[in-house]
């Protein structure tokens, strides 16, 4: 039982740090972290493009994929180091829907043609994906989805409405759960298909999130014709693939490293915020609450390490892995709320982008990205299986209730 890194690990860490310093230097990082263009900062500025290209050149774009598709041979500790260092430096990530959500399904269940066609483009971030899962009537109860795909010759004809589809307005393709059969159990009869967003019959309607953020959409599908070769795996087995995918990437889900960055930022902001002639950081009440969060986060970080160590030894993650998402989102949300609180009155200004472009930010430059992150972050305990659903799952799977 020990937490020491081996010499090899340390050498690797140094290598990663150097790579980051070269391709994602401090000034780029700060510019992006203070950008009030929250949504757009998720897209591809020249700096982001350069970073992604460098990743691909170095072979580090998709560490977790199988090596044959561009993955690395890193051991779990190295992967952990990579995640930690890139998160600490707030490096951009590949769009998660392609690289983290779809790719594992494709390299596990996809046809060779699908793998050859899509995996390289995802790895190079030359093809952006969105995820067509939720529907107006199927949120927490995802399996209650109603979008239908009817086979006609070599095509499926798809009709229905998807909701909360992140990035549908910028996506090239969508991977989508559709009902191909009305089974006895609602989990049956669902298929997993890939849809080109340029196919006729697709309408993308923006859904503005609190703060006027455009990130999610409603996607209407009206007689959308999808070639049968775009079915992934077997017909009616889509739920299995989607579920496997939901539990695929355990680590990272807790957002520990990101929260560590945010917590460090909160402390710095408190140290720079005036109060009573000193700073907010001198206030024992505020400091106590930040310290409480720090302990919570450290505990979660060790829990994540425990999961990682199990995987490193070839074991399956233990029950403690199930708490990562719940605690991770709770802590992330709490940090965001406390940062808003730290700003005091300066948490309120929410100027239009043109004003910021012309005259600079109002108050602390971190206000706008923090506020947008806080508002958007409320979704973290709702989307992808709400925390209530997570507890139902733990109750059943771990406690046997």
């Amino acid at each position: 039982m020990d937490l020491a890194l081996t010499d090899a690990d340390l050498a690797f860490q140094a290598e990663v740090r150097e790579f980051i310093a070269t391709y994602w230097p401090e000034d780029v990082r700060r510019a992006r972290a203070t950008s009030s263009r929250f949504e757009e900062s998720r897209g591809h500025s020249p700096e982001v493009r350069r970073w992604i290209d460098a990743l691909n050149e170095r072979g580090w774009a998709v560490p977790n994929w199988p090596q044959q598709w561009g993955g690395t041979d890193w051991n779990p500790t190295q992967k952990y180091i990579w995640d930690k260092e890139t998160a600490k430096a707030e490096c951009p990530q590949l769009s998660a829907f392609g690289a983290r959500m779809l790719a594992p399904v494709l390299y596990t269940w996809g046809t060779e043609a699908q793998q050859n066609e899509f995996l390289p483009k995802i790895r190079e971030e030359r093809m952006i994906w969105c995820q067509g899962y939720s529907e107006p009537g199927a949120g927490s109860d995802l399996a209650g989805l109603a979008t239908r795909a009817v086979r006609e010759g070599d095509e499926y004809v798809v009709n229905g409405t998807k909701l909360w589809t992140s990035g549908a307005h910028v996506a090239d393709w969508m991977f989508c759960l559709v009902r191909t059969e009305s089974g006895a159990k609602k989990q049956e009869g669902i298929s997993f298909v890939l849809i080109d967003m340029k196919t006729p019959g697709i309408t993308v309607n923006p859904v503005y999130i609190l703060g006027g953020i455009h990130s999610v959409n409603e996607v209407e599908l009206k007689d959308v014709r999808v070639p049968v070769e775009n079915l992934v795996g077997e017909e009616n087995k889509g739920w299995t693939y989607a579920k496997g995918l939901l539990t695929h990437e355990r680590t990272g889900i807790a957002g520990v490293a990101r929260s560590e960055v945010q917590l460090a930022r909160l402390k710095r902001i408190a140290q720079e915020t005036g109060m009573d002639g000193g700073t907010l950081w001198d206030d024992p009440a505020f400091r106590t609450r930040v310290t409480e969060l720090e302990v919570d986060l450290e505990a979660l970080s060790v829990t994540e390490l425990r999961v990682l160590a199990q995987v490193a030894q070839g074991g399956a993650p233990g029950p403690e892995s199930s708490i990562l998402k719940i605690r991770g989102t709770e802590i992330g949300q709490a940090i965001a709320m406390m940062t808003i609180e730290a700003f005091g009155y300066y948490g309120m200004p929410y100027p239009e982008q043109t004003l910021i472009d012309n005259e600079g930010p109002i108050g602390n430059p971190y206000v706008m990205p923090t506020m947008k992150g806080m508002l958007y972050g409320r979704a973290s305990s709702i989307f992808g299986g709400s925390n209530e659903i997570q507890k139902n799952i733990i109750s059943k799977a771990v406690l046997g209730l």
Binding site: S134, G211, M348, I362, R378
Partner: protein, 376 residues
């Protein structure tokens, strides 16, 4: 011991309720917010006609002589409607300073205009370094001929963009955070040397950064006594704290009730989500938080009406602590239980959440008021 409203108070409440229900639905509000000024002059005129702008002012000044309870009634309803018109800024903050510190001439010049809706004002009290401490005033007023020259930076001045005049706190003597030596000044919105940077706030209001660069005012611009502004500020801000707290209570009521209604209609897993015990108990918790906040609201209003002093200050701080905690919980859970819908701009819930979040840090957060409550 009586928690019921008088006949006049009930009439006041009814008139606000009617307005919110008939003339201020969520779509109307959105349109109003999207306008140039971020609120409706039309509505403001109506407020004046309905007598709401006269509520806290003495009858001899043309008001209706309402106290804290009347302010509470108004603000609770404005909170239910998430009303963006700058009632707080003009009537309670700027108007409050005039009410407590204005001489006859000043009241004559401003209060009548506020009451009839022809002038709007704002109270510029916070500064970039001050956080919630009213005595932390770096803006200076130096003697200049018969009058003063004001210089400094006033932060996040609510209602600043529409203000025809400002009440500005400035230091005429004393050290940077001394309570003594702060003077309040009436400053015209178009005074030379005063500039504003206007912006919307995240919760749908408008505010300004106000910069004063040697703004000249006459001796008659002094509101109250020279150096004695802090006591006025404290009382005005305590009333305003009651006001935003009441607004939050109104917002919480909508949040919890709408969530209950939503949970009865939203079906998942074959039944309304309101049938799930965990959500039921969560909504019970929301209801309880709302009721506790309401109790503290009544207490604060009644204590203020008994007379301004330590007991009233303590009650106001206690109320703000409760509002900070309850508002946060109710707002967050309303979003959570509405699921994705709670996250959208289209639905009211998220907007209440934003306003409740911002009220927590308006006039002092939980930490600030807990300390004050314990110290009084």
């Amino acid at each position: 011991m009586d928690f019921s409203l008088s006949e006049e108070q009930t009439l006041l409440k009814d008139s606000l309720e009617r307005f919110i229900q008939n003339d201020y639905d969520f779509d109307t509000r959105r349109k109003v917010m999207a306008g140039e000024e971020g609120f409706s002059r039309e509505n403001w005129k109506q407020f004046a006609e309905l007598g709401w702008l006269a509520v806290p002012f003495a009858e001899e000044d043309g008001g209706i002589g309402g106290g804290a309870i009347e302010l509470m009634i108004v603000m609770e309803q404005l909170g239910r409607g998430l009303v963006v018109e700058p009632y707080l800024a003009t009537v309670i903050l700027a108007g409050g300073a005039l009410k407590y510190a204005g001489n006859e001439a000043q009241k004559g010049a401003y209060l009548g205009a506020i009451i009839e809706g022809s002038k709007m004002g704002a109270l510029a009290f916070a500064e970039p370094q001050s956080r919630f401490k009213l005595a932390d005033v770096a803006t200076t007023a130096t003697a200049d001929g018969d009058g003063y020259a004001l210089s400094g930076h006033k932060a996040v001045v609510l209602g600043g963009p529409s203000a025809d005049f400002f009440v500005v706190s400035a230091r005429t003597s004393g050290g940077p955070r001394d309570a003594d030596g702060i003077t309040l000044f009436l400053v015209d919105g178009d005074a030379a040397g005063l500039s504003r940077r206007d912006y919307p706030t995240v919760d749908g209001l408008r505010a300004s950064e106000v910069t004063l660069d040697g703004v000249k005012v006459g001796a008659d611009a002094v509101l109250g006594t020279v150096g004695g502004g802090h006591a006025v500020l404290e009382q005005v801000i305590d009333e305003a704290t009651l006001a935003v707290g009441a607004e939050a209570v109104g917002g919480m009521e909508v949040c919890y009730k709408d969530t209950v209604e939503y949970s009865k209609q939203r079906v998942q897993f074959g039944q309304p989500i309101g049938k799930f015990q965990v959500l039921q108990h969560r909504m019970v918790d929301m209801f309880m938080e709302y009721e506790q906040a309401k109790s503290m609201m009544y207490l604060a209003a009644m204590r203020l009406d008994e007379g301004y002093g330590a007991v009233a200050k303590k009650a106001v701080s206690g109320f703000k602590v409760q509002v900070g905690k309850s508002g946060r919980f109710v707002g967050q859970q309303a979003v959570q239980l509405h699921g994705g819908m709670g996250m959208t701009e289209e639905l009211n819930i998220g907007h209440y959440f934003k306003r409740l979040t911002m009220i927590d840090t308006t006039f002092g957060n939980v930490d600030f008021h807990l300390k004050r409550y314990g110290a009084v």
